[in-house]
């Protein structure tokens, strides 16, 4: 690719290959700090009208300190963790997410993961299996765990 428009473009054009990856490798961490504004826009774009995500009074009535980060937004952060790591030549094949603890705007969420398995697939690609976590920085609470599989060129 000769046409590079920005640092961001260059970063995602990194080509991770199957041979570059070993069991035990750590993914570069992805830090996300959801704000009320982000949670609002996520509800808006997904047409999710649940009050728990935008109405602090409603959230308080359910016993929460603030509006809640959507479970799919946790999933989106973990998606970005994977796709950012593999770059443009790889594909995310599977992501199984389980949200364990709620998160609220202002929480610093660090997504990380580790390679737990590698195998060749039938269609001539390399499959890499990952264990992922999203951890809240303030108290080390595990907000979400996930397992993922990505396909990489050999």
């Amino acid at each position: 690719m000769s046409h590079r428009t920005s640092a961001v473009t260059s970063a995602v054009e990194r080509h991770l290959r199957f041979g570059d990856v070993q069991v035990g490798d750590r993914l570069p961490e992805l830090r996300r700090v959801p704000t009320r504004l982000q949670v609002y826009r996520y509800s808006a774009v997904t047409w999710n009208s649940h009050r728990i995500h935008f109405d602090p009074d409603y959230a308080a009535a359910e016993g929460y300190p603030d509006v809640l980060v959507q479970s799919h937004l946790h999933g989106a952060f973990l998606t970005s963790l994977c796709t950012g790591w593999i770059g443009s030549a790889g594909r995310l094949r599977r992501l199984a997410v389980s949200v364990r603890r709620f998160a609220v705007p202002g929480d610093v969420l660090t997504c990380g993961g580790e390679v737990v398995g590698t195998e060749r697939s039938d269609d001539g690609l390399g499959l890499v299996h990952l264990d992922l976590q999203e951890i809240r920085e303030s108290d080390d609470a595990v907000c979400a765990i996930a397992s993922a599989t990505v396909a990489l060129p050999l």
């Binding site: 826009r41 999710n48 443009s88 992501l95």
Partner: protein, 166 residues
């Protein structure tokens, strides 16, 4: 109405129920807005020319987009929403007012990338229901399988999802 044996039995009779929804077209603006909302900066979600150079027909949806959209049409009028703001129909009328609904995890398989202009159909099947003793009372866990396909019937995404009713 509360989460109890009666509600569990009502829901249990619906195992195997299948529904098909025409979700319509996943547009470029939906993809770009979704990417913006999740904080993505990868131009594959924003820049059609860039996406084409990478071999795609158009900008590519972040992987979990179609599973994350709550309501694909306009939804019901405000007065027909549940107390918590959600449309009753989205829960297939399973959860009466007063029953809290939460997502309980999701296992997604991505078969092919979804690019702008793809018309998507969703087939949802209720696959299981369980009544469990939770920390703060009984919980009903309803499992669904969702299959997203394009207009040619090609599989895009399959997902199994659990809904928790408390």
């Amino acid at each position: 109405m509360a989460v109890d044996q009666t509600l569990f039995e009502t829901i249990h009779t619906r195992i195997g129920t299948q529904r098909t929804h025409q979700l319509g077209e996943v547009t470029g603006v939906l993809i770009r807005r979704y990417a913006r909302a999740i904080g993505e900066t990868d131009p594959i979600h924003y820049d059609t020319a860039y996406a084409r150079r990478q071999g795609y027909a158009d900008v590519v949806a972040p992987a979990n987009l179609v599973t994350a959209v709550s309501v694909w049409d306009e939804g019901p009028p405000t007065e027909d929403l549940r107390e918590d703001g959600t449309p009753a129909a989205a829960l297939e009328d399973l959860a009466p007012d007063g029953v809290r609904v939460m997502g309980g995890g999701e296992d997604m398989e991505f078969h092919r990338p979804i690019t702008a202009g793809t018309t998507v159909e969703e087939r949802s099947t209720m696959t299981d229901v369980e009544l469990r003793a939770g920390r703060s009372g009984p919980v009903i866990v309803v499992s669904y399988c969702h299959e997203f396909t394009d207009a040619a019937g090609r599989l895009l995404v399959t997902t199994t999802r659990k809904l928790l009713l408390r």
